[in-house]
């Protein structure tokens, strides 16, 4: 057995050697491509599976939107392909079909019939009060924690920002938080036309700032148009791009085809802005662009006709405005 | 004299679950009688069947053939145990309870009215010298203290028959003396004590009658003096009865 003094000196020598080795290796560690020291907590802990968790929390938020009345993996979820909390914002194309009220189907046996008394049994939406009809439309705040968690886990999911911001603005009257969230969304997803549309709605409806709304919507249009590789790149403005696009035959890229609704919303909102400011020819041009992506072009045609009548270009019966 | 404890051609067999193993016979037609008011020693070498006999008397093991009775009630009836006290060889009790709580629990099972239990518990704690430790959890007790708790719980219902399995096992000489004193006191009160022990010197000094069993069979039954007979002491008589012959070292 070594004397105590020797043991202490040995320990000291080991500590010095360890420290020196760490100092020597640290620069190499910092340049190591697999280093996780710069990553955020979720990225480090969960890796690529975080988007899977994010999606499950997104679905959880929709489940809360329905006060727990939600299909499991065993039920018919055809009517829940697109989250209702997203579809109700009016800016998301929905793939839902089938019966949202009766996804459980008829009762299969007495156990199933009896068991249905012990879980939510009615289709409701939180923004209309939900199951208890107590709190009114502010109940929709209850979906926010899950949306926040989903956004933290997967910052690249655009819909999380737009849905959250919509409900923050529309029902909770929490405009500053919605504004901050959308700006965060733009930082994480700079090419997202959905976020620009929602931001524009915020500026227009909450701040009544038409100019900023216009700028942001134009940026949204530009980003949407550039989804088509055939659309010219460079420093063309959205107005210039849209003029060329309207004159060409309709030829949407696959991504554009899946996101027609947001383009329709962008163009109809820009048309409304121009109409309010008396720029009727520009408004008509926006509506013609909207027709190319709308599922109801004939309705927009009536609007175009109304504006042309106001311009004195056409005679049409007086119709109620679209807005 | 009233017979307190009786076995009638008691036979106990244990069937092994292993394939190819035969049945083990623990007791072979044991006939035993213990009379009221006597101190009865139950002796035998390890594996003789003493514990099996006690297990049958206490209802832990059913007899294969024959019967056993306490106070003329078949031991398979729980009421047969209403007037007995039992001290097992290895004394373990609920570690999270205090001695007082343990005694109160057993008093409730015996159906003792609360005033009776309130009077009896301090008396017993004083008898076994645990008054100062009565409110401490049993897990803090030494082996000797646990043994004394065991004795107290065996006496909680003021039993007419006390069944003790190796009551002085693990005790120091002072502890053993205290147990002997308690047994003597109980005898003076007219209680019956039935106990097994390897301490033949103790058995010789306190017992009225003894029984010696070996390999499940009763080999001897009678008064200590009669069994000792011409032997120097009970130990030598015991060894002779079980067939042990000592060879001088060569």
């Amino acid at each position: 057995m070594l004397p105590p003094r020797t043991l202490w000196l040995l320990l000291l020598a080991l500590l010095v050697a360890g420290f020196g080795l760490a100092a020597q290796l640290d620069p190499q560690f910092q340049t190591w491509r697999g280093s996780r020291t710069g990553g955020d907590f979720f990225k480090v802990m969960l890796g690529d599976s975080r988007s899977m968790f994010a999606n499950s929390f997104y679905v959880k938020a929709d489940e809360y939107y329905h006060s727990g009345y939600y299909p499991t993996i065993f039920d018919d979820n055809a009517a829940f392909q697109t989250a209702h909390m997203a579809a109700d914002t009016g800016a998301v194309s929905t793939k839902n079909h089938g019966d949202e009220h009766g996804f459980l189907g008829p009762t299969r046996n007495w156990i199933d019939a009896f068991g249905r008394n012990f879980f939510p049994d009615r289709h409701t939406h939180l923004d209309q009060g939900g199951a208890d009809d107590l709190g009114g439309s502010e109940n929709v705040r209850e979906i926010l924690p899950w949306l926040k968690l989903s956004a933290d886990l997967d910052p690249d999911n655009v819909q999380t920002y737009t849905v959250t911001a919509y409900w923050l603005r529309e029902r909770m009257n929490n405009v500053p938080e919605a504004d901050a969230l959308l700006h965060e969304g733009i930082r994480n997803c700079p090419d997202s036309y959905d976020i620009f549309f929602e931001l524009g709605r915020l500026y227009y409806e909450a701040y009544h700032d038409r100019q900023r709304a216009r700028n942001v919507w134009l940026e949204g249009v530009r980003l949407w148009l550039r989804l088509d590789p055939a659309v010219p790149r460079g420093k063309l403005s959205a107005t210039q791009l849209i003029a060329g696009w309207v004159d060409r035959p309709t030829n949407l890229s696959p991504v554009q085809a899946d996101n027609q609704l947001v383009m329709e919303e962008l163009t109809t909102h820009l048309a409304k802005l121009d109409e309010d400011e008396g720029n009727l020819p520009e408004a008509i041009e926006w509506l013609e662009a909207a027709q190319k992506v709308s599922e109801t072009p004939q309705v927009l045609q009536l609007e175009i006709g109304r504006l042309r009548y106001q311009l004195g270009v056409e005679f049409i019966p007086v119709l109620k405005p679209l807005y | 004299m009233t017979t307190i404890l009786r076995t009638d051609k008691l036979r106990v067999e244990f069937r092994s679950r292993d394939v190819g193993q035969t049945t083990k016979v623990a007791l072979r037609g044991l006939d035993l009688e213990v009379r009221a008011g006597e101190v009865f020693g139950f002796l035998g070498p390890n594996g003789a069947g003493k514990t099996t006999t006690m297990n049958v008397l206490l209802g832990f093991v059913p007899p294969t053939r024959g019967a056993a009775y306490l106070f003329d009630i078949d031991v398979r009836q729980p009421i047969a145990r209403q007037r007995i006290g039992y001290l097992p060889e290895l004394t373990y009790y609920y570690k999270f309870l205090t001695a007082e709580e343990l005694l109160r629990f057993y008093a409730k099972i015996f159906g003792l009215p609360r005033p009776v239990a309130n009077r009896r518990i301090p008396e017993l704690l004083k008898l076994v010298e645990l008054e100062t430790a009565a409110r401490r959890p049993i897990k803090t007790y030494s082996k000797g203290m646990q043994q004394r708790v065991g004795l107290a719980q065996a006496l909680i219902n003021d039993p007419d028959l006390l069944i003790l399995d190796e009551p002085t096992s693990g005790l120091d000489p002072l502890g053993r003396m205290k147990v002997r004193e308690i047994i003597q006191r109980l005898k003076n009160e007219g209680k019956t004590v039935f106990f097994s022990s390897h301490e033949l010197g103790e058995v010789e000094s306190v017992c009225d009658r003894v029984a010696i069993i070996h390999q499940g069979e009763l080999k001897a039954l009678g008064r200590v003096a009669d069994i000792t007979g011409s032997h120097a002491n009970l130990e030598k008589a015991f060894l002779d009865i079980i067939g042990y012959s000592s060879q001088p070292a060569s």
């Binding site: 727990g68 008394n117 939900g130 107590l134 209850e142 926010l144 899950w146 | 629990f105």
Partner: protein, 258 residues
Amino acid sequence: MKNISAVAGIVIKELYRRKDFYALFIVTVVICGMMAMINIYNDANIVRYLKEICLDLIWIASLVIAITTTARQIPAERDNRTLLPLLAKPLTRTQLILGKFLGCWLACGLALLCFYLFFGALAASREHHWPVLNYLQAGLMHWFLLGIIVAFALLGSLIFAAPSSNATICFVLVGGILFVGRNLDRVALTLREPTRAIVNALYYALPHLEFYDLRDLVVHNWPLVAWKYIILALLYAAFYMAVFLIGACLVFRRKAVN
């Protein structure tokens, strides 16, 4: 009855003298406290996520308490050799089993009471209303669910070799029934015979523990369940408790205790 209540009293004493319940309660309180402090878009009135997290923790804690407490009752009596002095008293084996069951079930009930009081206080701090009847229904159903589980675990403690294996099997079974039990008949349809028949038989034979899970109703403030259905569910639970307890008594009668 006095014997049964005496044994039950010992079990309850054991629960509040062990650290399990306090540790689980403190963990629940700490986690809920941390969750409550999270800033969610500067909105201090959001409450349902907190209710759900709290109820989930309560369910986990209650299952842990129920299963681990019950699984070790008879094996601990045997291993600690406290069973012999107990059965040497005028106490039948059936009374012992019933006393253990009653003690574990009442102990779970007391634990649940503490948990649900905390839950009620937590929810009321944000909702500013206290639906007592809803909580009562949920707590009562939860308690009866634990009764079924306690009875099953007691039977398991007499059949399985070790408390750990019994507890594992109980957790797996309870978790499986809660998650899949409701749809086991649909799972059966996807299988071939004879597996289909077996799974179908299980669907009808196993206790449907999901009946007793009223968390969604409590979290989302649904109206009360009709009391006639609650009573029927409680009777259903009582039936399964009786079945498992009778099984336990029959098994214990034949078991060697030494």
